[in-house]
Amino acid sequence: MVHLLAVAVALLSSFKSFSVNAQIAAKKPLVITTTTDLAWAAREILGDAVEVRSLLNGREDPHFVDVRPDYVAQVAQADVVCAVGLDLEVGWLPKVISKAARREIQPGGRGYCDFGSRIQALDKPLQQVDRSQGDVHPQGNPHYWLSPSVLAQASREVIDATERVRPELKGKFEARYSEFKRMMLGLEARLKARLVSANITGEQARFAEYHREFSYFARSFELTSHDTLEEKPGLSPSAGRLGKVATGLRRDKITIVLAARTAPTRVIQKFEEISGLKVGVVSVSVSQAPGSDVETYPQLIEKIIDTLIAVSEKNAAKLR
């Protein structure tokens, strides 16, 4: 009788675990990324086998985000949580993950994925960092997603994390990843050729930026960052600083000035007044929000290149 009971219990438990495992296997893994750009890359690479969602909608500045309870609820459902890393989300993501209270998606867990861990960071401070220098990222510049080739390199991380949480998917994404890399390198090469044909090379390829967020983009497209409007990262520049930068740009015949859409509009307008130069204000993240003209990553990068060329032509005419 005891044996019969034991067999029944074993059968029931194996049936239960089978049905739970079958449910898990049937349900698509959910990958949550902090930014829309990572979400776009994850969708391209993982395809329909995985559901991908982004916490941000592409309109926010990922440096300054609140610990919103809806982010906590989304992260609590995730199998994989992906961050840009390099301390970009340090002000909010650790709290979101901690409040979601799941061991697997916390740093060190098998569902945690840090895209930034895959790349060689630029602008890494050589000296000790403190707050008198502004919002310096001690691990280096986190704005690498604006370089197609660097984003392709970083995106490898989402495959590894997805395979860690769903070993049965191992090896299923390699072909898509190869195709993704080819597409990104092709995009970079094509847009680089556009810049060359617009004569933005050498001395003409120098540019100024509001915040140092185009470093990787510049390296990919053989541009040179000449100056930043911000005197210290994360701090709004004074009128004196704007005047100084404006004088330098006019003297050195720099025709390209770029700023992200999240830069303070009032400061950008002030700079345009002072310098007489047009600032190319661009989206720096993919967005599916209503009215967005950069719904995919290739659209985003093409739009930046278009704006850059247009601004360069306009400002060159002014400086002639």
Binding site: R68, D70, A100, Q106
Partner: protein
């Protein structure tokens, strides 16, 4: 007192003697430290009952945070507040918490501020205004209720964000005390249920219902029912519009005495004027609902405070505020009278690794 001396000693050691040790631990144990300083000043322009005060350091908080092991995180905080002209350090927080033991569940145990309401969950240097609303002073003893506690918070992984907290605290004392108190008949117990909505134009609203109860050793039963809300619109570093408020009803029942009900609230809308400059006005109201006149007739006696506040916040680590406060009193149906008015100023700064704030 022993704890205060030990805390002060720990602070001195960590700051002066053991700084290299602290930094070594920071490298290996993930230790993060921060110190927050909060200076306030108040000058009464028109006053009937209180004498002018001077500028004082309202609080210095020293915090140490680190993971203890793969399952637990710890926080230790000591704070100095002026009392009778002397700043004494006392233990504010010594908690062990975990968000890794049970899925979707955070556990917190040790000494700390109760996770209830809005202001009670935030350190005073992080409040968006200078002084404490009367409802906070009367119901939560100014800075907040701090006790030995065991607390559970559950977040539901649903499309509608939902967070529920339940906790029990020792309850021998309630609020700030310098004695061990007496064993309560029913210890302090509390709960908070919170949800969250998107608002138009990129805004978001967090709203929560709260309950706290306690029956003291002398059979005085206290119950608090409250709602707190925070609405925020954010654009990068700027918060163009913030709305924060709390409404609380306190019910006190003592043996052989009529029940006393008191209602208090504050509402603080704040708008961003320039990059680092915000302007807000706080409206406070406090009424004892069960007051009776000499004839035994119910009478409404309410106090109000209106506090326009200008905040300059060049970064998230330093804040300068100036405010003007009008105190008004109303009896029955009469028009409210201004009883006091005062000028307030505040400077706060944080050094070290301050953790991120809740919504």
């Amino acid at each position: 007192m022993r704890i205060k001396r030990a805390s002060a000693f720990a602070l001195a050691c960590s700051v002066v003697f053991f700084a290299p040790l602290c930094s070594a631990l920071a490298d290996t144990g993930g230790l993060k430290t921060f110190v927050a300083v909060d200076l306030v000043g108040e000058a009464f322009v028109r006053s009937k009952v209180v004498s002018p005060r001077e500028v004082e350091v309202r609080g210095v908080e020293v915090f140490f945070l680190a993971p203890v092991d793969p399952l637990f995180d710890a926080a230790v905080g000591i704070a100095a507040h002026p009392e009778n002209g002397v700043s004494l350090f006392e233990l504010h927080e010594a908690t062990l918490s975990s968000s890794k033991l049970i899925p979707h569940t955070q556990l917190r145990m040790g000494k700390g501020f109760l996770y209830i309401g809005k202001l009670n969950r935030i350190h005073q240097h992080d409040w968006p205004f200078i002084d404490s609303p009367e409802v906070q002073r009367s119901f939560f003893d100014d800075e907040g209720v701090n006790d030995l506690l065991l607390e559970v918070t559950v977040n539901t992984p649903t499309s509608m964000p939902f967070e529920a907290t339940a906790g029990v605290a020792k309850g021998w004392v309630y609020g700030h005390a310098h004695n061990e108190g007496k064993r309560p008949q029913v210890p302090t117990h509390y709960s908070r249920v919170q949800t969250f909505f998107d608002l138009p134009l990129g805004g978001a609203l967090q709203v929560a219902g709260n309950y706290l109860g306690r029956t003291a050793s002398d059979s005085v039963q206290t119950q608090l029912f409250g709602v707190d809300l925070t609405a925020k619109w954010r654009e990068g570093r700027r918060v163009p519009l913030l709305l924060q408020g709390e409404v609380w009803l306190r019910r006190v029942k003592a043996p052989q005495v009529d029940r006393e009900d008191a209602l208090g609230m504050y509402l603080f809308p704040q708008m961003n004027l320039l990059d680092s400059l915000d302007f807000g006005i706080r409206f406070d109201q406090f009424s004892v609902l069960t007051t009776e006149d000499a004839l035994g007739e119910s009478i409404d006696i309410s106090s109000y405070r209106i506090v326009p506040t200008l905040t300059y916040k060049p970064s998230e680590f330093s804040t300068f505020r100036i405010a003007y406060a009008w105190d008004l009193k109303r009896r029955g149906d009469a028009t409210p009278n201004v009883t006091n008015s005062s000028l307030l100023a505040q400077m706060t700064y944080v050094i070290g690794a301050h953790p991120s704030h809740e919504f």
